[in-house]
Amino acid sequence: MSVISDETGKPFNLSMLVYDTRYRSITIQTFAFILFMAVLAWLVMNTYFNLQALGKDFNFGFLGARAGYDINQRLIEYTNDSSHLRATFVGLLNTLLVAFLGCILATIIGVIAGVLRLSNNWLVAKLMTVYVEGFRNVPLLLWIAAIFAVFTEAMPQPRAFRGDNPAANMLLGDSVAITNRGTYIPAPTWGDGSMFVVIVFLLSMVGIWVFGRWAKKRQDATGEILPTFWIKLGIFFLPALLVFFILGRPIGLDYPELKGFNFSGGIHMRNSLLALWLALSLYTGAFIAENVRGGILAISKGQTEAANALGLRSGRTMSLVILPQALRVIIPPLISQYLNLTKNSSLAIAVGYMDLRATLGGITLNQTGRELEAMLLMMVIYLVLSLLISGAMNIYNSSVKLKER
């Protein structure tokens, strides 16, 4: 709304600061800046005086002190002799783990539910509607608590596996045990030479990618379609298996075994993780399902009809024609759902999952009484996490966006 003023010759006077549109914006901004700084200074001063009155100081030295508590799920080495800083890291990694797993599962659930909600199968469409509405309209905290309770009560205790005629049995040839403390699965053991197997496996992944590109180029050039799926499957398994057996099976499996109170050996996926993961995924999945449904409905019906006219089956119509176009509509809200999921993972305390909020913002804060430092640090970490996620997803979004030339 800038008005071109032709009174340039006029000498400057103070009232122009308010009435001349050239200077007005500067005046307003200066005013706002001073006000902002004043408020900031006021808050900092208050904090300073309050801390002084309580005889506290502001320093992060407590992070170096011995934590003294144990954490059950730790992705890095941690004992109760480690520092609070390390406990914070353990918590942060746990947050990242559940957020990562949650985003993947939520997307899968969301896409399936969103597509099925539009299915012409009446029963399935209705069931999906019940799922979506049920999860969207009840607080997440209730779902987390409820799913955790279901896990606890519906699954057998480790004791049930004991004895000659146990009440519960391990699955898949005594390799997987599902208990109400978590699921135990076999863990790989890395012997000599297992490095080669891994390298060969990674190389064959690269091979699959290269082959896929080549096959596509060939199809574009000659129109010939190779049986890519079977060839890729072959590349995926054969070289690695070959090396695996040549080197004398260096990679083994460590099976879980009932010892004492609990199963030992194998990988223990705790129910706190599983319940939180499932609850977050189901809850966020319901929202994603709505986004997916909206995205699909946004694609004009003509696209479906055209695909049908080309003779595509309904599954292929969906995967080749509709979803790729709908993706552009779906991705922006998907980003905010991922952000929500990450932030909602802070409800982990309801199931006793030791995430950032439970370590730094929970036990550490409680034991040291440093609420100001701990809360500020926690906010900064969550903020950085959110910015990173939205940054990464925005880059992805701009890469799939319709390029307007």
């Binding site: 003294g68 954490i71 606890t152 205790q157 109400n180 609990n262 929970g362 009484g369």
Partner: protein, 338 residues
Amino acid sequence: MKKSVFIGALTAAGLAAGFASAGTLEDVQAAGSLKCGVTTGLVGFAAPDANGEWEGFDVSVCRAVAAAVLGDGTAVEFVPTTGQTRFTALASGEIDLLARNTTWTFSRDVDLKFTFVGVNYYDGQGFMVRKDLGVSSATELDGATVCIQTGTTTELNLADYFKSNNMSYEPVPIETNAEAQQQYLAGACDVYTTDASGLAATRATFEDADAHVLLPEIISKEPLGPLVRHGDDQWADIARWTLNALITAEEIGVTSANLEEMAKGTNNPEINRLLGTEGDLGGMLGLDAEWAKRAIAVGGNYGEIYAANIGEGTPIALARGLNAQWTQGGLIYSPPFR
């Protein structure tokens, strides 16, 4: 800018903005009610009944202090606090007294700057297991899964205990007693550990209480008591001596039944001093002569409060044990009223 307008507006609405001054006693008397921090719910110690009336062992302390200061045991605003918010609430003046089964420790007293006015319950961390587990001592718990209530000293004690006995364990941290109880009953953990009083209270409400047993080891000292802020000695004295009055009343045989009669004067000078018919102990505290009489009148003496809330006549059925009077071999001991 608009923000501050709203804050200002709400402040001016006079919802409850107040300015804490140095004298907690004057503040409480001016407000006409005592703000007392309690748990959000712990069986026997503090919980609201169907009419919203709080009741429990800790709650009785609040009521006694309110009666001593304000003359009315119901003039208490109960502020539910969590393990995390309790200290901030006290430090910021949101509450005047914290009676939330809080363990008296060095760092809380010195570093967090609170004054513990005494001990109303001597507790210790214990373990509860299923009987059919065949465990008779905590030293057999190597490798066990342990449910802990977080936000307390419990997790530190546990870590220390298992470490010093060279045992490993799997901690399952749980936010509230109710959740922990559900986890334990479903067998998601082998052991449930918290204060022994809490364990006994929890066990008492089980459908099959006999199938569970408390292990003999008590791995920590947990003197639980009410606390106030540093820096207001008069207020700390009032809280301390109100608690002592309840204890002394039991020791010298003043009960809610014979209170009125004894307040008329007896030939026991200590009873007379306590109930204000002799000397001026109340005046020294900044209260009137009958302060202790009112405090005792609310829920009776220490023993009566104990019996009514957590004693053997209740479903919780905690024996007096350490919490018997010193004359009965316990630790409950009040300095003399003199």
